[in-house]
């Protein structure tokens, strides 16, 4: 293609200090941060018995760790502090799923995808002291009786029916950073003390919890003080001065605000789990400080962008501790620190402000693994903002992902959230809408494999794949020959889905209870409205809003399979259901004609009402089943439809499906059509997607669309993309993330990974460096439908 236009210089130039920080970041190898595990083990072995309450044990453990953690300030740092003892680190919470992750202890360094450095001494302590201590004492082990727990763990590791992410800790919320920067820890301390003074209304448990909250505050303060002392001995007065104010006092500048937030962002991820701790509407809550700086004539646009970029590097230092097995489920080192900009304000008008545009400049000019950038768009958004956001998306790197205010606010208000609150939503983790500072929605509680229901029906009550230990797992054993109509089949699907989800419910309840009983998180609860007010920890339902997010994945595969059965078995009557089942059992070996017929049947993603309506029915079914449950914290179960890279992992354990998808092949990603089955272009594909009512998924959906970079280029490309997104949103689409990729570049990145270390691609709800993906996922990114024309 001809490129004659001058390449427009990005408005944000990376120079000097920031360039150095970026180079240092990119050249730092990731390490396993063992100190968290070692300190907690020491504490629980020696000191924990001194404390009666479960809250105080956790708070004191945190204090012990932060008081002893190795700390460093790296050259040129603008924001300081690391969440592990390493610059880029994966943390291990042994009392949660950390010990499970350590199954790779001997291969972390050598594995080809996401290698982790670990020193010999730490490895030895983990092996001899940490793992043996927690094997029987981790939350999972305590939540289940041993035998059941073992079976549960096996199912989980195989990723078959569902995966309960909450087993690794809950996390996934939007801390009230607005409160933090306006009150400081001093203000929060005052609030807790006041609550304690209302002694007559408190139970002993309430009091224990509140006392632990105070110790949690001590922990962050002691951690910050240690950094201040270190900065002082290094003569780094810039940092000393900043730490004189934060975290204790309200932030007096944007830089202080970001430092204050980073302290909490780090420690929440140390205490709870480094997944889905999200920053909320940062352009909104920082705005008053910005206005103050403008008024005092001390604001510098370049300084702000530089500080913000440095803040993003800090977020990128957090990488998850995933074993190879987990990497298949959640590839690309996601930590799900979502950051939301734009959207409408409480006045129902476009809320984009000067900071929004400056942040967009940073997204465009400074590509980092984290945060997960999310831009809210409404019909009421001003033209300039939408245009700029789309322009940044069109520039590549997959960010920001775009969220449709009009659909999301509608979906939230239907779930009994008052409109002004819903209007203030931000996103959590990958794609999940939540109410900042007020909700504890465990938005990533579990992921459920939808097409497994059909596999069980085709196996007359047993899965048709799954090795030797197949067992009766279905609700009923209806003989295939007795299924005479398509409607009967649909009814069976609903029954089976409900049955499998009821199992999920039982197990998730146990894990929720386990988290509440053995892993309260008083530090995290400091910034969730309702916890201090009700003197209840967030794991016990202290938050103002509680929920559990349950994701259904493989929707397209199930719809395509049912449509194929409808066509071949019930409409044309060319084959029996038994034959279809046999073909799937045999991975279509010796069934090539039947396979061709199944593939020829209508597929979701081609704007074909017949199959799209089946997908819509499944979505409604899933919503109905999921929404009928409540969690143990008193909140509703809410459905979502996003998959991260789980569609890959679930698919790997499944038999062939009547859609024509072969054994072990990946399932479809999020709400998207099955790979390569949408043949009529992106508008047809999106029309299919919007035939599903997205309000069935208030916990969020992900829709990935990919364009080769020669389609979405220049001003025209940006305009086209805007048209496509606007049309999709007007038609009921909730979310979309766009990858603008150059196929040749991706191929080259496989061969020469070192040349392309900073090439970002959008996975499900997050961006990852392409070179951090497993070879299989790299292929998937390349092979999936490239929309061209």
């Amino acid at each position: 293609m001809i490129q004659l236009q001058k390449i427009k210089q990005s408005p944000f130039r990376i120079t000097g200090r920031l360039k150095q920080l970026q180079d240092d970041h990119l050249s730092t190898k990731a390490s396993l941060g063992a100190e968290r595990a070692i300190h907690y083990t020491e504490f629980f072995k020696k000191n924990a018995k001194k404390y009666d309450s479960k809250y105080m044990k956790m708070a004191q453990a945190l204090y012990y760790h932060l008081n002893n953690r190795s700390i460093r300030i790296y050259p040129g740092e603008i924001i300081i502090g690391t969440h592990t003892e390493h610059r880029i680190g994966a943390i291990c919470q042994p009392e949660l799923a950390g010990t499970v992750m350590l199954e790779d202890l001997f291969s972390f360094e050598k594995r080809s995808t996401n290698p982790l450095h670990i020193d010999k001494k730490s490895k030895s302590i983990l092996l001899k002291k940490v793992i043996p201590y927690w094997l029987s004492k981790n939350v999972l082990a305590k939540s289940f009786s041993t035998a059941k727990g073992l079976k549960y763990s096996m199912d989980q590791l195989k990723a078959t029916f569902y995966i309960i992410n909450e087993a690794g800790g809950i996390a996934h919320f939007l801390p009230d950073y607005e409160k933090l920067i306006n009150k400081g820890t001093n203000g929060i301390r005052k609030q807790i003390n006041k609550k304690i003074s209302e002694a007559e209304n408190l139970t002993p448990q309430n009091r224990d919890y509140l006392k632990a909250s105070l110790v949690s505050l001590d922990a962050v303060e002691v951690f910050a003080d240690r950094y201040k002392k270190l900065a002082f001995t290094q003569g780094n007065l810039e940092i000393v001065e900043m730490l004189e104010n934060v975290p204790r006092k309200p932030a007096s500048s944007l830089k202080e605000a970001l430092q204050q937030i980073w302290f909490f962002q780090m420690i929440i991820q140390i205490e709870s789990l480094d997944q889905g701790i999200s920053l909320g509407r940062i352009d909104q809550y920082l705005y008053p400080i910005y206005q103050k700086e403008i008024k005092a004539k001390v604001f510098s646009e370049n300084d702000f962008k530089e500080t913000f970029a440095a803040f993003c590097l800090k977020l990128s230092e957090v990488i998850p501790l995933f074993s190879k097995r987990m990497t298949k489920l959640f590839g690309g080192l996601p930590s799900g620190q979502a950051l939301t900009i734009g959207g409408i304000g409480k006045d129902n008008k476009c809320a984009a402000n000067e900071l929004t545009y400056m942040i967009l400049d940073v997204i465009e000019g400074f590509k980092t693994r984290q945060p997960n950038w999310h831009a809210r768009i409404s019909k009421r958004s001003c033209d300039k903002y939408v245009k700029r956001a789309i322009q940044v998306v069109a520039g590549g790197g997959g960010s920001p992902a775009l969220y449709n205010d009009d659909v999301i606010i509608g979906a939230l208000t239907k779930r009994k959230i008052a409109k002004p609150r819903a209007q203030n939503y931000a996103t959590i983790g990958c794609v999940e809408p939540g109410i900042p500072g007020e909700s504890f929605t465990s938005s990533d509680a579990a992921i459920f494999n939808l097409p497994i229901a059909l596999e069980i029906i085709l196996g007359e009550g047993k899965r048709i794949s799954g090795g030797l230990f197949k067992q009766q797992s279905g609700k009923n054993k209806t003989r295939l020959k007795d299924i005479q109509t398509f409607d009967t089949l649909m009814e069976l699907v609903e029954v089976e889905l409900a049955h499998q989800i009821s199992y999920l419910k039982k197990n998730l309840d146990k894990i929720e209870k386990g988290n509440a009983d053995f892993h309260p998180t008083p530090f995290s609860s400091l910034l969730i409205k309702g916890c201090i007010e009700s003197a209840l920890d967030s794991t016990e339902g202290g938050a103002l809003f509680n929920a559990s997010g349950i994701q259904g994945i493989g929707l397209a595969d199930l719809a395509d399979s049912l449509a194929a059965i409808k066509t071949v078995v019930f409409d044309k009557k060319e084959h029996s259901l038994e034959e279809v089942a046999q073909a799937c059992r045999n991975d279509f070996k010796n069934f090539s004609t039947l396979k061709a017929k199944l593939i020829k049947a209508p597929k979701f993603g081609n704007d074909d009402a017949q199959v799209d309506e089946i997908a819509a029915r499944i979505a409604a079914m899933f919503d109905k089943i999921v929404s009928s449950y409540k969690n143990t914290r008193g909140g509703d179960w809410i459905p979502g439809a996003y998959s991260m890279t789980c569609h890959n992992a679930f698919g790997a354990n499944m038999a062939a499906l009547p859609s024509g998808r072969g054994q072990q092949e990946s399932l479809a990603d999020g709400l998207a059509p099955s790979d390569g089955s949408d043949m009529a272009g992106p508008t047809a594909s999106l029309n299919s997607v919007t035939r599903i009512d997205h309000e069935h998924f208030p916990n969020g959906v992900n829709l990935n669309i990919k364009f080769s970079s020669n389609i979405i280029r220049g001003k025209k490309g940006s305009d086209i993309l805007r048209g496509l997104v606007t049309g999709y949103f007007n038609n009921g689409g909730m979310q979309v993330q766009v990858n603008v990729l150059d196929k040749k570049l991706l191929e080259d990145a496989i061969v020469n990974p070192d040349k392309h270390r900073n090439m970002l691609v959008r996975i499900s709800g997050y961006s990852a460096y392409f070179t951090d993906l497993t070879p299989q996922m790299q292929r998937e990114v390349i092979d999936r439908t490239f929309h061209g024309c």
Binding site: G681, T683, G714, K716, G723, G727, N730
Partner: protein
């Protein structure tokens, strides 16, 4: 013209959604079948003949010969080409039974009403991108009654409408229909009469006259010109085109490059098209031609965007 209550039909060879290169915004591109020209470089050879035909895609065929079993006319051969068109009576049974989409009907007759329904599905995308529908071919003006009815229907639905034409039509017959279009892409090929006839099989007198009239009468017409090595890219032809544009007071040309993707479609349906064997038009020559227009004060658009030389 449209008779009341009866929707006119035309053979449609393809409806291509999310088309970005044939007018503004997101568009649906509709190819009508049948053309009076026979350009040697034709990029849609399957659209030349006006009658519908069954196309055979050899690469998709798995040789299951389900088609052979159902054909009532003994028109299926096992040879290189699956259909004996002299025997075929277009019952379409073979298409129905093929499990591999190796046989396909090209040129299904759709009524203007049906076509409207087919393009309306992307209306929200036309609206959100200032896009619409582009009618291409073949040569759409061959189906003048159909075209007029469809254009009226689109007007009623507020769908932006572009026409792509080779310019060979009866002006008086088409003039009221053309007035219903928001944009007309008029294809200039070769201005020398003798060379035009040689390369396209048709005289260019009416074409050039129509171009003049459209400009004179202030129709929203824009000229397109495809560079084909050895056919249209000679210096004399470029100079003729520049002179013509100046005469009709136009200072913009949409420049296109010949690509040889059309050759893969030769032979899937019956037709007289021969392969040219030319490679895709080279970038350096394209730039040279673009710069030549530019030097002669003609702005060049490529893929909807201005090609700038500063």
């Amino acid at each position: 013209m449209t008779r009341q209550g009866i929707s006119q039909t035309a053979p449609i060879s393809e409806i291509q959604r999310f088309s970005l290169h044939d007018g503004p915004g997101i568009r649906t591109l509709v190819f009508l079948k049948g053309c009076l020209l026979g350009c040697e470089w034709c990029q849609n050879p399957e659209s030349q003949e006006i009658s519908p035909a069954i196309a055979f895609y050899k690469n998709r065929c798995k040789k299951s010969f389900e088609c052979l079993k159902v054909c009532p006319d003994d028109a299926i051969t096992k040879g290189n080409h699956r259909i004996n068109y002299t025997k075929c009576t277009m019952c379409l049974k073979c298409i129905e039974v093929c499990n591999y989409q190796a046989l396909e009907l090209i040129g299904e007759n759709l009524s203007a009403q049906d076509l409207l329904q087919a393009v309306l599905v992307d209306k929200h995308y036309y609206d959100s991108s200032n896009g619409g529908v582009t009618i291409s071919g073949g040569e759409a003006t061959l189906h003048s009654g159909f075209l007029d009815e469809f254009a009226s229907l689109c007007q009623k639905e507020n769908i932006d409408l572009t026409l792509e034409t080779c310019g060979l039509f009866s002006f008086t017959k088409l003039v009221s229909t053309l007035a219903k279009f928001d944009l007309i892409y008029f294809d200039l090929k070769i201005l020398d009469a003798r060379l035009h006839k040689k390369a396209t099989g048709a005289d260019n007198k009416v074409i050039i006259e129509n171009a003049r009239r459209l400009c004179d009468q202030k129709f929203p017409v824009e000229f397109r010109f495809t560079l084909v090595e050895g056919f249209t890219d000679g210096k004399e032809n470029l100079l003729n085109i520049i002179a013509f544009l100046k005469e009709v007071k136009k200072d913009v040309i949409h420049l296109q490059k010949y690509h040889n993707l059309g050759e893969a479609k030769i032979g899937i349906v019956p037709g007289a098209q021969k392969k040219l064997g030319l490679p895709a038009y080279p970038d350096d020559k394209f730039l040279a031609a673009a710069s030549f227009f530019y030097q002669n004060q003609i702005k060049v658009l490529f893929d909807g965007e201005v090609v700038a030389f500063d």
